[in-house]
Symmetry: C2
Subunit: 206 residues, 2 copies
């Protein structure tokens, strides 16, 4: 692309560094900003810089937080003996949205993926193992994505916890609520039959 | 969405003010920034604020420019008697990419669209009429989108120029190069037959 303005070219270039934003989209976004009041661009910039420079992670669960201990970890009403292990903050938000979970979280910061250069050292696994060794945690729920990387990470964590007194579970894999059986893939359907549960168990959480 | 951090919430909110960026996409983008070096966020913010605060428009063609007169208008090799009227800078870039056009441009800054509150006063039409009155321009090529708003704007400009000595043309509408006839819509196909050109004319610009 051939820009008539260096400033414009630079702004479009920086914008297109974001994932999923190509040069054309970046140009569209930047031109939109030019039509908006200057204040709006300043507010966006300030919010981004402020977040990036003062970002903190909860020292207990490693979730993004404005305080040393996040709201969930510092809430005395939450069950500290139950910890749900998730990949990132989006998973915390998704689980919080269900209003079904009253335990704490542990945010790994990703999953083991040699292809993307993510090893166990890049994640907060050792901090998790230390927390379990302290003995307060009774159950650990592994709630990672159902992918090869997720399964690898689950298995690695499980191995690290060997010999420690903690119950380890994973979230149920099965047919999504509202889904038709005929369109489910065979692996999911197969697992959902193998891991069937007593019928009365389905009322527990409603 | 329920965020664990006010700073994060604010950044996501500001990001989601951009067109086509919802809350989820905004969160994905912001989380990506958090994983990148701090420098990158600063560079994006600086580029945006700098562009927004020092943005200039060429005083002749109203295109975005870093100088008072843009590169195209100040280029003595361009034909100043030929002016192509376009909607915004993206159209200038698209036409420049063809390397077929050696005249100047006039950027309207939009098109007449009462639904979006865009009247003739919001556009640079009066500046265009003044330029024509100065008498340097021999031909005006109207190159607006082929929509109702584009046609309205074309007609409005044409009416404003009544009585002035300038040749007004519009870009050819027809079957795109590489397109199959059977898939063309009937309006385009009909127009392309009505506005057929002598066969030898098709070699002119190759």
């Amino acid at each position: 692309m051939d820009f008539s303005s260096k400033l414009l070219e630079n702004a479009v270039y920086e914008m297109s560094q974001l994932p999923g934003i190509g040069k054309r989209t970046a140009l569209r976004l930047v031109l939109h900003m030019l039509k908006q009041p200057e204040r709006q661009t300043e507010e966006l910039s300030n919010a981004l810089v402020k977040l990036r420079s003062t970002i903190q992670f909860c020292k207990k669960c490693h979730n993004i937080s404005d305080t040393e201990l996040c709201e969930i970890c510092s809430n005395p009403k939450r069950d500290a003996s139950l910890v749900c292990v998730v990949e990132d903050i989006r998973d915390v938000m998704a689980i919080e949205n269900t209003s079904q979970y009253r335990g704490l979280y542990h945010v790994l910061g990703g999953k083991i993926s040699p292809m993307e250069g993510m090893g166990p050292q890049e994640l907060t696994i050792s901090s998790l193992v230390n927390k379990v060794k302290e003995g307060e945690i009774k159950e650990l729920i592994l709630a990672l994505s159902s992918t090869m990387e997720g399964d690898t990470t689950n298995f690695y964590i499980f191995k690290q916890l060997e010999g420690l007194e903690v119950l380890t579970s994973t979230i149920a894999r099965g047919i999504a609520v509202g889904d038709e059986l005929e369109y489910a893939d065979e692996v999911t359907l197969g697992r959902s039959i193998l891991n069937r549960i007593p019928f009365e168990g389905t009322f527990n959480n409603n």
